[in-house]
């Protein structure tokens, strides 16, 4: 099976294009010739929406009316900027549900289907190439992350002598990123998902420094997504279009899983390596894995209590 090819240095790739554009910012004389980014004036919103965005309160402090107004602004903005009708839900957590994930690394062959499915589902910027999942190509015989290959690009996978370790947000039960945030813009929901209010994040990136799993990504520029690729089914705390200058991360596909569906990465996996479900349901598959397989967690010694496990068939 062929893999999804990735450039060797995705960062270099997008920075180069950008710097070319920025070459204009050389001196004062060039100021008037700067190209406009996105739609002009208020970033594609009406003045009223821009003011509403500015004064928008913290997610957990808004009453239902204010939430409705906030969702409306996001929908109008997508319409204004890209002409796409999107639906922004605010589905509440399901009582009695705490989500957990397990990956069978014997089955993972490194196809990275999960990575692309995630990008398509979660509306990450296509130019910035933000990916919530990183599949590490590891040397058999060890678990040393430092010798792992992040940008592996052979003709076919799996490569002899290698195994594959997909890493994404581990949805820690004691998340260091949540402690780090100075404005409580990120927190753990009752269903165990660590979420971000993209309208409250100030972009200090302290959470990125605190995360031991490199799960958090920053919008260094306005995320660009072609209108036809925009996933219109979104959630306020999940895959709705993000503004520039804020941090984002995997939310276990909150827009799907709170409706009882599986995350996009789980559905996309061609080998069935991924098991996702309710940790509080004794009959769930995830509980079966935890009770019957020898599982381990990444960097367990840091005490972050990930709700993300790995196991093997043998």
């Amino acid at each position: 099976m062929s893999m999804n090819s990735q450039p060797d240095q995705p960062l270099d790739h997008y920075r180069r294009g950008f710097l070319k554009k920025l070459g204009l910012v050389g001196g004062a004389a060039a100021a008037t010739t700067l190209p406009a980014v996105g739609k002009p004036a208020w970033g594609g919103s009406t003045l009223g929406d821009a003011v509403g965005d500015f004064f928008q309160s913290h997610y957990n402090r808004m009453d239902p009316e204010e939430i409705e107004a906030a969702l409306g602004r996001i929908q109008r903005r997508a319409k204004e900027r890209q002409g796409v009708e999107i639906e922004v839900a605010n589905t509440a957590p399901i009582p009695g549900v705490v989500f957990g994930y397990a990956i069978n690394i014997s089955k993972c062959k490194g196809y990275r289907r999960c990575v692309t499915a995630c990008v398509e589902e979660n509306n990450q910027g296509r130019d910035s190439q933000v990916q919530y999942i990183r599949v590490l190509q590891m040397d058999k015989g060890g678990m040393d992350l430092e010798t792992s290959e992040h940008y592996y690009d052979p003709e076919t996978v799996p490569v002899d002598g290698k195994f594959y370790l997909p890493v994404q947000c581990q949805q820690c039960d004691d998340p260091p990123c949540v402690k780090a945030c100075p404005v409580e813009a990120t927190w753990m929901e009752p269903d165990g998902i660590v979420v971000i209010d993209y309208n409250w994040c100030i972009g200090c990136r302290y959470c990125m420094a605190a995360c031991p799993y490199w799960a958090r990504h920053f919008n260094w520029s306005e995320p660009q997504i072609p209108a036809e690729e925009l996933n219109p089914v979104t959630h306020y705390l999940g895959n709705r279009p993000r503004p520039r200058g804020v941090v984002e991360k995997c939310t276990f596909c909150i827009q799907r899983t709170r409706l009882g569906r599986q995350p996009a990465c789980q559905e996309a996996c061609p080998t069935g390596a991924r098991v996702f479900g309710n940790l509080l349901d004794p009959d769930s598959e995830i509980r079966y894995v935890l009770e019957n397989k020898t599982v381990f967690r990444l960097k367990e010694d840091l005490g972050t209590e990930p709700k993300f496990w790995y196991y093997t068939d043998v």
């Binding site: 913290h58 040393d144 260091p176 402690k179 945030c181 100075p182 404005v183 200090c204 260094w220 804020v246």
Partner: protein, 421 residues
């Protein structure tokens, strides 16, 4: 009642503020040239910052891999400069040494300028600076006491207030020609002393709080920060005091310079000892905790962007400590100034780029990448430094004539001493 407060009575608060601000409008040609120069650099930085607001932090060399860089490096360093004002405060207010009292207000002006500069560096590092109000308790959500960043905001704001209010009170009293009441200001001075240590400790804890980053996650970081602050602060103040001595008739005793030089010598020795302790722990048994140090000092997987920086820092600091440890050289102003320049630069690298950046390399998933500031980042940073110098210049310009007038009242008037600076 409010109207009466704002009336301009001779010796009143309004009169005090107006006359202090009025001093800013009088100066010789080099004062205006200096201001013009600073404003030019600030303007240039501002222009590039507009570019950053327009395009996002994309214009920096930062990435998801190395998400803090030059801005935060300067921030960490400048908090150290602010802390070291305490070195003048303790001898002046606690031991009542007159020559220290003469310059303590200048030390506090350095602290004010350094805190404002440090905070500005954090502001320009924010992805959404217009959401700054989210951090204000009451209208925002201030994650105190859990987030170390909220601690940092709190201690820096408090320190800024203390270092504005204490000098304001003392200068106001001197303006009125009376001695400040010891009982009125001493408790605040005492608080400011402990507060000074706290700002740099909290800044160190901001980094060392992260087990995700083994390079920062060491108990030695706090002590290292304080020790190196007591190198860079005195180095800056020794040079600043000499400049003030040259361009004004403000009394700067050589005793002050000597004391600062001595503190700097000891602090630099301790600071270098800490570096050795870190190097030993990292490299005697090299494990994954040493990967960042290996990257920093020797390079990792073909990446070694910081290697020239850190070896320069080490070389500069070693050269400086050699000069400082030889008494005749330390007493010689040329060599002392040279040592100040070397150590200031050395610590700026050590506690800046060589501390912040390697914490991110390799990433927690083992990826190795390099970071270098872009020219826009350097221009914006230059503008912020110039703003700090401007703040200090203006504060000193306001304070010095008041202090000189107070001295003249106590001493015999010096013939032809017009308070022109």
């Amino acid at each position: 009642m409010f109207k009466r407060m704002l009336e301009r009575k001779p010796g009143g608060v309004v009169d005090f503020v107006l006359s202090a601000v009025g001093r800013l409008l009088h100066g010789r040609w080099f004062y205006w040239l200096w201001l013009a120069l600073l404003l030019g650099v600030i303007g240039n930085g501002g222009f590039h910052y507009i570019g950053q607001l327009r395009y996002g932090l994309m214009i920096t060399g930062l990435s998801d891999q190395i998400s803090w860089g030059f801005y935060i490096a300067n921030f960490a360093f400048l908090v150290g400069i602010a802390t070291s004002a305490v070195l003048l405060v303790i001898p002046a207010y606690i031991f009542h040494r007159q020559e220290m009292k003469d310059v303590v207000l200048l030390g506090e002006a350095v602290a004010v300028a350094a805190v404002i500069t440090a905070m500005t560096f954090v502001m320009v590092d924010l992805g959404r600076p217009e959401r700054f109000w989210h951090m204000i308790p009451g209208i925002g959500e201030f994650n105190f006491p859990v987030s170390l960043l909220s601690w940092d905001v709190l201690v820096l704001s408090g320190y800024l207030l203390l270092n504005l209010l204490i000098p304001f009170y003392i200068l106001y009293c001197h303006f009125q020609g009376r001695e400040p009441s010891f009982r009125a200001y001493f408790p605040w001075v005492l608080l400011a002393m402990f507060w000074a240590i706290s700002i740099h400790t909290v800044t160190a804890f901001l980094f060392s709080a992260n087990p995700a980053r083994p390079f920062w996650h060491t108990a030695l970081l706090g002590p290292r920060f304080i020790a190196s602050a007591f190198v860079s602060g005195p180095a800056l103040m020794i040079v600043a005091l000499q400049i003030i001595r040259a361009v004004t008739r403000y009394p700067v005793s050589q005793k002050v310079v000597r004391m600062l030089a001595l503190i700097m010598t000891v602090a630099l020795q301790i600071s270098l000892f800490f570096v050795i302790a870190e190097l030993f722990t990292d490299f005697y048994n090299e494990g994954s905790h040493s990967a960042s140090s290996r990257y920093l000092f020797f390079g990792l997987d073909g990446h070694a962007a910081l290697r020239p920086w850190v070896w320069s820092a080490l070389g500069l600091n070693l050269f400086a400590v050699l000069i400082l440890m030889i008494n005749p050289l330390r007493e010689n102003m040329f060599f002392l100034n040279l040592a100040c320049l070397l150590a200031f630069t050395g610590i700026w690298i050590e506690k800046g780029m060589a501390l912040v950046v390697p914490g991110f390399i390799p990433t927690p998933l083992g990826e190795v990448a390099d970071y270098a500031p872009t020219s826009a980042e350097l221009m914006i940073s230059g503008g912020i430094w110039a703003m700090g110098l401007l703040v200090f210049t203006l504060l000193a310009k306001m304070a010095i004539p008041i202090e000189l007038a107070q001295r003249d009242r106590h001493a015999k008037p010096i013939a032809g001493a017009a308070a022109t600076i």
